[in-house]
C-alpha cells in the first residue's frame, strides 16, 4: 500500500498513494473554509477557527484514540459512553468533597481500565471488537445513570479555573486550556504512531494480523494496548468535556462514537486498518467542526442537516478510498 507510484504522468499524480486521502480532506477543508469566508464576513475572523478547536477539543482527543483502534482494524463503540462516565464520575466525586487531584487521577484511570478489560476480552476470547465494545458502551452508559439520574454541577475551583482561563487576549483571539491539552495529545499520538515500536506494530497488525504474528510481533499485547489507549483518550476527552460544560450529565455525548468514527474515516484512515494518520484525524474533526459552524452561520438550516451532510461525506470518502484502490477486505 505504501508503494510510491512511479508511472509517468503529471507531477501531482506521483504523490504517494497513502497521502492522497489526507490531501483530499485538506482540500475539502480549505474549500469549505473558503465558502464560509466568501459567504459570511464574520467567518474570516481567526476566532472562528479557534472556536472550532474550543468546541471540538474533546472530540479531537477521542478521535485520536479511535485512530489507534481503527488502524489495527478494530472498532471501539464505547468511547461516547466512557466520555460521559468519566465526566459523571468526576462530577460525582467532586460533589462528595474530594480534592481535584485525586479526582483527576481516579477519572483518568477508569477509561484505560475498561479499555484494557475490553482489549483482553477481544484478544483472549477472540470475540469481535464490535460486540465487546458494545457491551462496554452499555456498561459505561448504565454506570452514568447508576451514579445519578440527573446532571451534577461542578463548582470545584480547579475545574472552573480550567473552564474560564483564556490563553491569549480575552477580548480578542483566545483559546482554552483544553485546546492545548488536545494538541499535546495529538502530538504525542503522532510521535508514538510514527516513531515508536508500538506505533509500527499497530500499522503492521492493521495491514495483516497473520503476517504480523508470523513476523513475531506482539499482536496480543498491541491489540490490548490500542484499546487501553482509546480508553485513556476517552477519559481525557471526558475530563475536557467536564471542563467545557462544568457538569456531568448521564445522557451527554450520546452517539458521539459515530461522530468520532466519521471524523477518523473522513480523515483518511482506512477502516480495515493499516493506513492512516493522526494528522488526517485532526483534519476530519476540523471538517466536522467547520460543517457545524457553517450551519450555525447560515441560520436557516436546521441542526439535522449536520447529520445528513456528515453521512454524505462519510459515503463520499469511503467511495473515494475505494476508487483510488485502497484495499478493502
Amino acid at each position: 500500500m505504501s508503494t510510491t507510484s512511479l508511472t509517468t504522468g503529471p507531477r501531482w499524480a506521483r504523490l504517494p498513494r497513502r497521502h492522497v486521502p489526507v490531501l483530499v480532506t485538506l482540500a475539502l477543508l480549505l474549500v469549505m473554509y473558503g465558502i464560509g469566508v466568501s459567504q459570511y464576513r464574520a467567518f474570516s475572523n481567526v476566532q472562528v477557527i479557534f472556536n472550532v478547536f474550543i468546541d471540538n477539543g474533546f472530540l479531537l482527543v477521542v478521535a485520536v484514540g479511535m485512530t489507534f483502534v481503527i488502524l489495527t482494524g478494530g472498532i471501539d463503540l464505547s468511547v461516547g459512553s466512557v466520555v460521559a462516565m468519566t465526566a459523571m464520575v468526576s462530577a460525582w466525586l467532586l460533589e462528595s468533597g474530594l480534592p481535584a487531584l485525586p479526582v483527576l487521577i481516579i477519572a483518568l484511570l477508569i477509561g484505560p481500565t475498561l479499555g484494557f478489560l475490553m482489549g483482553c476480552a477481544i484478544h483472549f476470547f477472540d470475540i469481535q471488537p464490535f460486540i465487546v465494545t458494545l457491551a462496554g458502551m452499555f456498561f459505561a452508559r448504565g454506570m452514568c445513570t447508576f451514579i445519578s439520574d440527573s446532571s451534577i454541577r461542578i463548582t470545584d475551583g480547579f475545574w472552573t479555573t480550567m473552564a474560564q482561563y483564556r490563553i491569549g487576549d480575552p477580548r480578542g483571539n483566545f483559546v482554552s486550556v483544553s485546546v492545548l491539552i488536545a494538541f499535546a495529545v495529538v502530538l504525542i499520538a503522532a510521535y508514538v504512531l510514527a516513531y515508536t515500536r508500538l506505533g509500527r506494530n499497530v500499522y503492521a497488525i492493521g495491514g495483516n494480523p497473520q503476517s504480523a504474528l508470523l513476523m513475531g510481533l506482539p499482536v496480543g499485547r498491541t491489540r490490548i494496548a490500542v484499546y487501553t489507549i482509546s480508553g485513556l483518550c476517552s477519559a481525557i476527552g471526558g475530563i475536557l468535556l467536564s471542563f467545557y460544560t462544568l457538569s456531568g450529565a448521564p445522557l451527554i455525548a450520546v452517539g458521539m462514537e459515530l461522530d468520532v468514527i466519521a471524523a477518523v474515516v473522513i480523515g483518511g484512515t482506512v477502516l480495515t486498518g493499516g493506513s492512516g494518520y493522526v494528522f488526517g484525524t485532526v483534519l476530519g474533526v476540523l471538517v466536522l467542526g467547520v460543517i457545524q459552524t457553517l450551519i450555525t452561520f447560515d441560520g436557516s438550516l436546521n441542526s439535522w442537516w449536520t447529520k445528513i451532510v456528515i453521512g454524505g461525506l462519510l459515503f463520499a470518502f469511503i467511495l473515494f478510498q475505494r476508487l483510488i484502490g485502497i484495499r478493502y477486505k
Partner: protein, 354 residues
C-alpha cells in the same frame, strides 16, 4: 436420565430458554402477580401479554438482522429506518383530511414501506456491488438516517389521531394484541421461505464463504443485496408499531438503540456474528429475553438507563459462552482439577436476579 439431561443442555436453545425461565421465575417470586393474565373487555391483559406485545417490534427487526448476520454482515441502520418509515407514515396520515380512513392509512404504510425498501436497496448496493464493509456501509445510513427522519418531521414530533394506525401497535385480534400476530406472521413467512425452500441454505452458504458459493453457482451478490432489503422492510414494519404505540413520530428517538438490541437478540439466539448459520427461533427467544429484562428492570423501579448495565452483563456472558476459546479454557479446567464453581453462565443468572 443423566444422558437425556446432557443432550438437552447441549441443545442450542437450552441456555436462552433457561435464562428466560429463570427471569420469569425471579419476577414471579418478587411480584407474585407477575404471571397473572386477566380478561378485560374481551381482551387479555397482564404483564406476560405486555412483554409479548412490546417485544413484537424487536422480533421483527431481529428477524431481518438474523438474515443479514447470517451472510456475515451487519445492519446498523435499522433504527434510523424505523424512525424514517414511522415519520413518513405519520406525516402522510397527519396531512390527510380523514385520519381514520383505511385508504389513507394503507397509502401511508405503502409509501413508508416503499421508502424503507429504497433505503434497504441502498445498503444492499453499497455492500454487495461496491463491496464496502457492512458495518461502515450501514453506518452511513445510521448517521444520515436520523437526519433524514428529522427532515421528514421538520424536527417536530408529529402526533396523529388515527384509529386504524394505532391498531398496529395497540389493537387486538382474537383477544391478543395485533402486534403479536404481525410479528408471528413475519416470522412464519421468513421461516417458510428460508427453511421450506433452499433459500435459507443458500443464504447460509453465502455467509460461510461468499466466493466459494459464487463459484458453486449461487448469485452471492444478489443474496447479500436481498437480505438488506428484507431487513429494511422488517425495520419499517417495526417502525410502524413503535410510532403506533405512542401515536406520534419522533425523528430523534423512535427506534433509538434498536439496532443494538436486535444484534443482541440475534447473538443470544445462537446465531454467530461470523455468519454461515442462523436460527430464527433463537432470535425470537432472544428478543423475548431482552424485553423481559427491560420489563423486569422497570418493574423493580430501576431507571431504564441502568438496564443497560444488565444488558452489558448479558452481552458479555452470552459472548463468552459462545466463544470457542472460552469454552476450550473452561473445558480444560473442568477436566483438570475439581469442578470450579465459576462456570460460565453463573454470572448471567446472578445479575439478572439482582
Amino acid at each position: 436420565m443423566n444422558e437425556r439431561l446432557r443432550s438437552m443442555a447441549s441443545h442450542r436453545l437450552f441456555w436462552p430458554v433457561a435464562v428466560l425461565v429463570v427471569m420469569l421465575a425471579v419476577n414471579t417470586i418478587y411480584r407474585p402477580g407477575f404471571l397473572a393474565v386477566e380478561v378485560n373487555n374481551g381482551h387479555l391483559y397482564g404483564t406476560p401479554i405486555d412483554i409479548l406485545r412490546l417485544s413484537a417490534p424487536l422480533i421483527l427487526v431481529g428477524l431481518g438482522m438474523t438474515l443479514v448476520i447470517s451472510t456475515g454482515g451487519i445492519d446498523l441502520s435499522v433504527g434510523s429506518i424505523c424512525a424514517i418509515s414511522g415519520a413518513i407514515a405519520c406525516l402522510h396520515i397527519s396531512q390527510a383530511p380523514d385520519q381514520n380512513s383505511l385508504v389513507t392509512v394503507f397509502t401511508a404504510l405503502a409509501m413508508a414501506l416503499g421508502a424503507a425498501l429504497v433505503l434497504g436497496a441502498w445498503n444492499g448496493v453499497l455492500v454487495s456491488v461496491i463491496g464496502i464493509q457492512p458495518i461502515i456501509a450501514t453506518l452511513i445510513l445510521m448517521v444520515a438516517g436520523r437526519g433524514l427522519a428529522q427532515l421528514v418531521t421538520e424536527g417536530q414530533i408529529i402526533t396523529i389521531n388515527s384509529g386504524p394506525y394505532r391498531a398496529l401497535g395497540l389493537g387486538h385480534l382474537l383477544t391478543l394484541p395485533l402486534a403479536i400476530f404481525i410479528a408471528l406472521g413475519a416470522a412464519l413467512l421468513i421461516a417458510a421461505l428460508t427453511r421450506r425452500t433452499a433459500l435459507g441454505m443458500i443464504i447460509e452458504s453465502v455467509g460461510g464463504n461468499r466466493e466459494a458459493s459464487r463459484l458453486a453457482g449461487i448469485r452471492s451478490a444478489r443474496m447479500v443485496f436481498l437480505v438488506y432489503v428484507v431487513s429494511a422492510a422488517c425495520a419499517a414494519v417495526a417502525g410502524f408499531m413503535m410510532t403506533a404505540n405512542v401515536s406520534s413520530a419522533d425523528g430523534n428517538n423512535a427506534g433509538l438503540w434498536v439496532e443494538l438490541d436486535a444484534i443482541l437478540a440475534v447473538v443470544i439466539g445462537g446465531t454467530s456474528l461470523a455468519g454461515g448459520r442462523f436460527y430464527l427461533s433463537g432470535t425470537i427467544l432472544g428478543a423475548l429475553i431482552i424485553q423481559t429484562l427491560t420489563t423486569t428492570v422497570y418493574a423493580m423501579n430501576i431507571s431504564p438507563q441502568t438496564a443497560l448495565l444488565f444488558k452489558a452483563v448479558v452481552v458479555i456472558a452470552v459472548c463468552l459462552i459462545q466463544a470457542p476459546e472460552f469454552r476450550a479454557k473452561l473445558g480444560r479446567r473442568r477436566r483438570g482439577g475439581p469442578p470450579s464453581p465459576s462456570s460460565a453462565p453463573q454470572p448471567q443468572k446472578e445479575e439478572v436476579t439482582a
